[in-house]
Symmetry: C2
Subunit: 233 residues, 2 copies
């Protein structure tokens, strides 16, 4: 009754297996960390063969890209209500950053590897690379929303670059967090509070007409940074 269109079948079976493998992977990664989680263990836990696991995920690193995506979705969902109700820029940024860390917290143990691969230009995981363009776009889009719907007075030229700048900033915070071994990542939260405060101040400062020359120069520089991504192969 449901299989008249033979050529267009959506192969939901495959999707299911794929999800099964991903779930197993994330669970084991969270429990044991990256090195301790072998592809063989993931396959076994999912009840499939090793070769089958590779059929769905070209490499162990590709599993991490899926992880990126999943945590981003969680972060997005977590920030939605706050961004809905709150319009103050500082408060919005503070909330978004705190929620980013709390979303990632369960995976702190293996987050290092995440960044490790992310910094390698040859890795498909590198956030500047072609492969992860969609993930990065999504991530930047969040900051676009953050900036767009706030009533803070910000010069247009700065406003245009701000989402990307905030994305870079958030990458920096994550890098710090990865190295942060304090209880409950307390230091990272402290750093977020301080940096958000400072950023807010700096944006006010940069909005001062007297700062126009410096601002111009800085923004030109940022556009230079952005271009790098497009130059990637």
């Amino acid at each position: 009754m449901d299989s008249i269109a033979t050529t267009q079948t959506k192969t939901p079976k495959g999707e299911q297996t794929k999800a099964l493998i991903l779930d197993s992977a994330l669970q084991l990664l969270q429990e044991r960390g990256y090195e301790q989680t072998t592809m063989r263990a993931i396959a076994q836990h999912a009840g499939v063969s090793l070769g089958n696991a590779y059929h769905y995920f070209n490499s162990k690193e590709h599993l991490i890209q899926a992880f990126y995506h999943r945590t981003h979705e969680e972060h997005l969902a977590a920030t939605a209500p706050v961004l809905e109700r709150e319009s103050n820029f500082k408060a919005r940024l503070l909330a978004v950053m705190r929620l980013k860390i709390s979303t990632l917290e369960p995976y702190h143990e293996f987050a290092g590897v995440l960044f490790k691969t992310a910094a390698d230009p040859h890795s498909p995981l590198n956030p500047f690379a072609h492969d992860s363009a969609p993930v990065r776009r999504d991530s930047i889009r969040l900051f676009e929303g953050l900036v767009r719907d706030t009533k803070a007075r910000i010069p247009d030229e700065l406003r245009a670059e701000l989402p990307y700048l905030l994305w870079l900033y958030h990458m920096g915070i994550i890098l710090f967090w990865i190295h942060d071994s304090s209880a409950k990542s307390a230091r990272t939260y402290r750093l977020i509070e301080q940096t958000v405060e400072l950023l807010d101040k700096l944006i006010s400062l940069a909005s001062n007409p007297l700062m126009r020359p410096v601002r111009k120069r800085a923004l030109k520089l940022v556009s230079e940074l952005r271009d790098l991504e497009l130059a990637e192969t």
Copy 2:
């Protein structure tokens, strides 16, 4: 005739073998890149067994730490004459940064891996980790010299943190460079020129008495960043 002091012999033989392995490694790494250079190939090229290579270098990554050290020495030597004669802050920084990139240039191909491992907190190569403390110290010391012997007027509190800040900045530039595939790293050099210009401007700005509150806040934040290193295990 040379083996009277049996217990205190300095084992120069071992040092020689170690140097031989390192030389082979660096040569092959430069020629083929990281992935293509197997430990087996390094051992063979050095004329020793695989096991012996591991006797001197605990892992492939440890070879890279030696690489860090070597290029740092080169950079140090290259910057010495300029720092000797030039006293203008902007000119000094510009020279140091350009020379950093030109020193690394031959290894551009495998530099990605360098950063890849560097970002992982579990890696002995991570520049914030205990293992690489000496290398990092040396690296920061270069910027201390850069700041100390310049006649630019900089508030003392800022001057104290500036070497570390410049070190962080230089790490950022290296990260950019790793992803830069333009001919002769032209984009990186351009970025250096722009950022040095901007940094110089910002330091002047920050030295303005009116900026004191923002400066205070920013410096407190930097000290927070520095503390992270000490907290590493």
